[in-house]
Amino acid sequence: MQVSITINGNLVSHDVEPRTLLVHFIREQAELTGTNVGCDSSSCGACTIHVNGEAVKSCTMLAVQADGQEVTTIEGLADGDTLHPMQQAFHECHALQCGYCTPGMVMAAVSLLDEKPDANEAEVREGLEGNLCRCTGYHNIVKAVLQAGGTQ
């Protein structure tokens, strides 16, 4: 069936099976491979994107459920060569090691601060409970989100 999704401002339209997961539509049809598949079972958060401005796990959503909706992926955050404040904070705080969780972590963090701009450390840690970092680099990730919260 025909599915049309506005991804990072561009309308992407493809004929896909109803069982196509949103994350696969993003990676394979829209060819945006910044969004990673991790656990593939809505635990790890590596596939976190925004649907209509809210963080969701794109491995647990059908592409057809996003038909006609606005999706933002990690590729859609930066303004040209200027990093989004959250990306900049991750860069400055060395908030990544292997980098696999990073796109999902950044997308979840942006959504977290949208809902709670003054989040304190405990709230940041709890707010990122849906994202796992297998390098266990949480300390600098939390630091980065707090820094981004202060500059946004």
Partner: protein
């Protein structure tokens, strides 16, 4: 992991969804937020031939003050239930239990009606609804009917919903002065509860629902009776596992689950002022 192939239909209205259910029979499943159903389909534990998407029926997403009760549309998302001021002020236990469901991403998509209709004994929300003595409104070919939480959860992933029916609303008595507590014991932040206890004390009357202590979400009736008769939290909580037949799994054996039920119920009662 990719689900088995299915046909997809987008419902245009609640009436349309019911007509589609009637048309497709037991081949069909309703898709709301998809956060209970899609994981099952990805693991191929469920393979419905037809998915009827009710996720866009915005008129089933609402929170209304209806006198003695709040009425919550079945498609109200967890995030809304968690933050809605009517719910946090009138039935705080439901908001607190909802805040413990999954993680923020899951709560942005998952719906209250979907979680209840899934009938999972490990889910937080059925226990809260049981403790609050809420009910669900079911629509179907023969009209609407209201079913108390106690009668809705029948067995493992089994509810009173017939194949051609749809859960449309949740009703919970208002209790702004109640004291309550939601106790969830798990090993990692976003895990399901190994055991959970939803406790509310309102006008001296106690309600206790247990998570993961039986094949279905279950009421701790013996605890309620004891509390209402004046027992202390410690005395009453001793009876928390009475009549429960919890399963054993990698996280906990039967005796350990019963122990957790007693401890969590006691903590819940104490936090609720008993």
């Amino acid at each position: 992991m990719i689900p088995a192939a299915f046909d997809y239909v987008l419902a245009e209205s609640a009436e349309n969804a019911l007509a589609l259910l009637a048309e497709h029979g037991d081949e069909a499943k309703l898709l709301a937020g998809g956060h209970s159903l899609l994981p099952l389909m990805k693991y191929r534990l469920a393979a419905p031939g037809v998915l009827i998407d009710i996720g866009r029926l915005d008129d089933l997403s609402y929170v209304r003050d209806e006198g003695d009760e709040l009425a919550i549309g079945a498609l109200t998302k967890h995030r809304e239930v968690e933050t809605n001021s009517l719910i946090t002020s009138q039935i705080g236990l439901l908001a607190a239990a909802t805040a413990q469901v999954g993680d923020p991403q899951v709560r942005h998509r998952g719906t209250l009606g979907g979680a209840l209709a899934h009938g999972d004994p490990a889910s937080d929300l059925p226990a809260a609804l049981i403790a609050l003595r809420g009910s669900v409104v079911i629509d179907g070919p023969s009209g609407r009917r209201q079913v108390a939480a106690d009668d809705f959860f029948i067995g493992f992933l089994e509810t009173a919903l017939a194949e051609d029916e749809m859960l449309v609303e949740i009703r919970v008595p208002k209790m702004p002065d109640a004291q309550w507590s939601f106790q969830k014991f798990n090993r990692r932040a976003q895990d399901w509860a190994i055991v959970g206890a939803a406790v509310v004390v309102n006008n001296g009357q106690c309600g206790v629902g247990l998570v993961n202590m039986d094949a279905r979400p279950i009421r701790a009736s013996a605890v309620e009776t004891a509390v209402n008769a004046g027992a202390t939290a410690t005395e009453a909580a001793e009876q928390a596992a009475e009549g429960c037949e919890p399963s054993a799994d990698l996280n906990a054996g039967v005796e350990y689950r019963k122990h957790l039920a007693r401890v969590l119920t006691r903590r819940g009662l104490e936090e609720s002022g008993r």
